[in-house]
Symmetry: C2
Subunit: 219 residues, 2 copies
């Protein structure tokens, strides 16, 4: 079990009993999604924006337009953070104070780097796209040089990270447990509905196996 070293930056202070530093556990949280909240500062105001990502080993990839102000500003930071959260349940306690949610949330920290090499860019873009929906990239037409040139790809080497996982029921004050108030959890899941084909699609193009599989796994 490899753990991220605890430092001022990644140490979980509130609810430290739910803290996770194990790299494999954190990778599981990263791999369970494809949208993360990337933070930057504009005019002294910290702002976060949801962005698609992909992971290869300890590198996270982001991409966007070459003109993207936020991506450019990320490159000026020594350390970038990305937060990825999956909401699993509402936790309804007998008191307002003990209400909570079950979740898996990871924040990773790392140094950003612009990828210049076209081949490396393509590898990163394939990774990001296949995180959204597995095996998509290989079904598409090739990227043009113009498209590659218009795309800014950023690699973030994970220097450190931490996660918090809550996956238990309501924890009430012992004296509240006898109250005639309902407590429990309401599980929350992200699901997928039937794929809708593009109107302009040629009539003979069927929904491909990788899309059907994605639907079957998430419906």
């Amino acid at each position: 079990m490899k753990e991220y070293t605890k430092s001022k930056l990644n140490r979980v202070k509130r609810g430290a009993n739910r803290a996770v530093y194990d790299q494999e556990e954190i990778n599981k949280i990263i791999d369970a999604g494809f949208l993360g909240y990337v933070s930057y500062t504009y005019d002294g105001v910290p702002i976060s924006i949801p962005m698609a990502y992909g992971r290869i080993g300890n590198k996270i990839y982001l991409h966007g337009s070459n003109g993207n102000r936020m991506l450019k500003s990320l490159l000026s930071l020594e350390t970038v953070s990305i937060t990825i959260t999956h909401l699993d349940a509402l936790v309804l306690a007998r008191s307002g104070f003990h209400h909570s949610v079950n979740y898996r949330s990871a924040t990773i920290f790392g140094a950003p780097k612009k990828i210049e090499d076209d081949e490396q860019k393509e590898v990163a873009l394939k990774c990001v796209l296949d995180y959204m929906i597995p095996n998509r990239w290989d079904s598409l037409r090739e990227m043009s040089q113009k498209e590659l040139d218009q795309t800014l790809v950023i690699e973030i080497s994970i220097d450190t990270a931490s996660a918090k996982i809550r996956n238990v029921g309501a924890i009430d004050e012992p004296e509240d447990e006898v109250l005639p108030i309902w407590a429990g959890i309401v599980p929350i899941v992200q699901k997928v509905e039937k794929p809708v084909s593009d109107e302009k699609l040629n009539a003979d193009v069927e929904i491909p196996p990788h899309v059907i599989e994605y639907y079957e796994n998430h419906k």
Copy 2:
């Protein structure tokens, strides 16, 4: 239709055709969720953390433990930002370049203020809890003074905001439309599963109407 004034801070640069400044539209995005990403800076690193919120008029409420480092640091900011995003679909195009997602995302900006008055604190905490699940607060035991004292409540007056909404299908290069590659959208929805009663619940406490209604509306 009341719109937020466009400024350097909230003006949408990328995909300006999808920009929304209308206050009612932005409130709809806020009201469709209860978890937002609040950004702060620690040791020069911008970080965002998911937090429960509630809205009353143009005020957003956050809460947490009195010892919460992040909430305390929010209070030192002149302007706080919160980003709320709902993912509605994967948008699968014929080229990697034109892949996208459908979403509703709002970022609000405003000045933070600590609420000191106990009555105002309770109003805010009721608001946050009822954003998570409507009508919950009134079914609970009253908050104790000790709990109130342990809770830090922050009010953020929305000074400005902007949103982006994408809700259309794949937009491919015209010359790609004839390719034998499947394109379309895969709708994504957040759903709720059957409430699970707490193990320690008295046998005669039934799942209350507000929980059943929430389940029925989101299952």
